[in-house]
Amino acid sequence: MLPELGNFAIILALFFAIVQIAGPFVRVSGLQYTAVFSQFFFLAFAMLCLIFCFINNDVTVLFVRDHSHELLPLIYRIGASWGGHEGSLLLWCLILSGWTAFFLIFSLMKKNIPNELLTKIIMVLGYVSTGFILFLFSTSNPFKRDFPTEPISGNDLTPILQDPGLIFHPPMLYLGYVGFAIAFAFAVAVLLEGRLEKNWAHACRPWVIMPWSFLSCGIVLGSWWAYRELGWGGWWFWDPVENASLLPWLAATGLLHSLIVCEKREAFKGWTLMLAIITFALCFLGTFLVRSGVIVSVHAFANDPDRGVYLLGFMAIVIGSALVCYLLRIKHFYQPPKFQLFSRETFLLLNSVVLISAVATIVIGTLYPIVLEALNLEKISVGEPYFNTVFVPIMLPALFFMGLAPHVSWGQQTVITLWKKMRWTLFFSLLITALFPIVTGFEFHVLTSLGIFLGIWIIFATLQLFFQMKNKSILPVSAMMIAHIGIAILVLGMTLNKSYSVERQVKMLPGESVNLAGYQFTLNNIHEMNGPNYQSIAALFNVQNNRGKEFSVTSEQRIYLSHNQAMSKAGILVNMWRDLYLALGTSFSDGAWSVRIYYKPFVRWIWCGGFMLLLGGFLSLITFLQKKGERHEAI
């Protein structure tokens, strides 16, 4: 019964999505708005049906059979409803219609978008939503049923997904990914109108900032998950699917900043519209890469050629038509630049240039294997060495400008005044960088010092902004300051972690000790444990630091019953300055175990920086809500 209801709800949602497109053509008052809310209601209903199918472990539903099991704990059963292609696509559609509904309520309340434009934005969103719901219904229906003749049990969720990460990471990531549809719809609607309302950039900004914060947080959560689950303490792998989430993030960061120029200076209009289209196109590209099987990745879903063809065709229509609009209408938005070479505008333009170059290098690296294969040359995979070599040098100047740009005035600025303003900040950043290896005893490396300098420079320059503010309200800039400091902390964490991590692989008998990075690790005992759907061999370690303080930590080797697959569950000791990471390997016949021990300094700073980005996003939303809605005027 529930699966049929869910299926029916999807059909109704599809119907309402089509009504949403028809909105501007059928002049029935309130019809389009009703369609938006009904669509959201029915998709939410379908999602609930799917979740209940999982809770009841209804194995007649194929998607449930493939991803659930009677022994799977409840919380993972709920998570499993988006743990595979079909369910995650339903979540995707639900989030898209959720954003649309939220955007509509918000805009109707603030009255900051003229009705004509609002109707067009909702229309474009309907167009995207229809395509995705149709995709869901026709190629990836999560409610497809099959009645087995004899009782069977489900295939269970892949062990690697049985982690709290599954509960938060995909919804958070999708909130980001999908949310950019609004900015895209905004850009296309503006192009269709052929003229810009004066405050459109202001009205559009929260719809870039919110998804951007969610995406930042989603990416960081994914990295945290990989760090804990994959058992070797890495936090970024340049996997094609990680790249797929990083690409829209980079483009959206550019969009975020160029919108500011649009709002404050009425410049960069065409470029901003283009960036909104690029950002969403990259979200699309990511979805296509993950779900079509054109690339090999640890994340890729089981693939089906129809899905790839559909998604590609749909992407061609949506992004292609947006680009056609852009081609035809862009001449209306052209304005000669009104700023001097050395000004805040130039720095924000540089920001865009750098970020788009970074996007281009990652796209090239990710698609290069397909290019070679398409030309029948050879099969290769592009990995970390390429990305580290090209991505890092591009981002370094951007980080330096990040500290500088907020101090540069709009319009024009002289180099001398800027130098006078910033020289002490520069001096102290360099001083601390120089002192760092001496005080902490860490080895000196040029690149590491560069990373440390950039991090400290951004923090100091941003704090300087705070101290130089005279009787202005702090809230509007605080979001920017927190986000920028978040990036600085991220950079510091990544640099220090990359440079000073230490690891050792050892063979240990119970009772034996090993020293690493000033800690003594003792394997206390090995015992067996039983989980709800796994059995595990757990090793209890005692760790003593050089001041004699003791901690204990358990590292497990789990065997999941339904998959007969071993998973290493690392034991991690956490504090602000370092993680100690112990992964249990294989056993030897003499009772010894191979153990990998990692000392990972500053790894928490990476997650911490990521959450600051989320916080910055929320603060900026609060600022936006506090401002009185400015009435719109056409120019």
Binding site: I277, F288, S292, V294, L312, M315, Y326, L367, I370
Partner: protein, 177 residues
């Protein structure tokens, strides 16, 4: 000047079309199937016991027959899937099917053969997995086609279905025999 403007405005469209074409082409490719460097090379040397009678077997057993060498294990789910196809095609006497039992428990392997059927002429047991490394095996099931001179001519990755047999493997074997 007009041309410059056209290029500037049209550039995003051109890049987009290029990427779309590339992805379209990409859909027809199979990136997960990595070609074996052993194609057209002699089969690697091995010396492995037979699962059923403990007799030693070597690569010289391959000479004189067209061989389908199938790498499998009792713990491999996809192997159980292809077994019915293998049993069906083993009726064909133009070629021999040799099994390579990969990192397996011998008792489990024998039980598994009773359950799913035994299409193999002989089964070599590679308990350490060292021989599989020589063959460049990175997962089960994998199937090699070896000609009468003991030279590897084809490698198929993944379970063999009846369609795979008809469309892919059968033409290769017929050409060799």
């Amino acid at each position: 000047m007009r041309l410059f403007k056209l290029i500037r405005v049209g550039l995003p469209m051109m890049i987009f079309l290029g990427v779309m074409l590339l992805l379209w082409r990409g859909l027809t490719l199979h990136p997960a199937q990595i070609p074996s460097p052993l194609i057209n090379k002699p089969a690697p040397q091995y010396r492995l016991p037979n699962l059923l009678n403990k007799k030693m077997m070597t690569e010289r057993d391959l000479i004189g027959h067209v061989t389908l060498l199938n790498v499998w294990a009792s713990w491999c789910e996809a192997c159980a899937e292809e077994q019915s196809t293998l049993v069906a095609i083993s009726q064909n006497k133009n070629f021999q099917i040799i099994g390579l039992d990969y990192k397996d428990n011998l008792a489990d392997a024998k039980k598994w053969l009773q359950q799913y059927g035994n299409p193999y002429e002989v089964i070599a047991v590679d308990q350490t997995g060292n021989s599989a490394i020589d063959w460049g095996v990175y997962g089960t099931p994998e199937t090699f086609v070896i000609d009468k001179k003991g030279i590897i001519r084809y490698k198929y990755i993944g379970p063999i279905s009846m369609e795979v047999w008809e469309d892919t493997l059968r033409p290769v074997i017929e050409k060799l025999s």
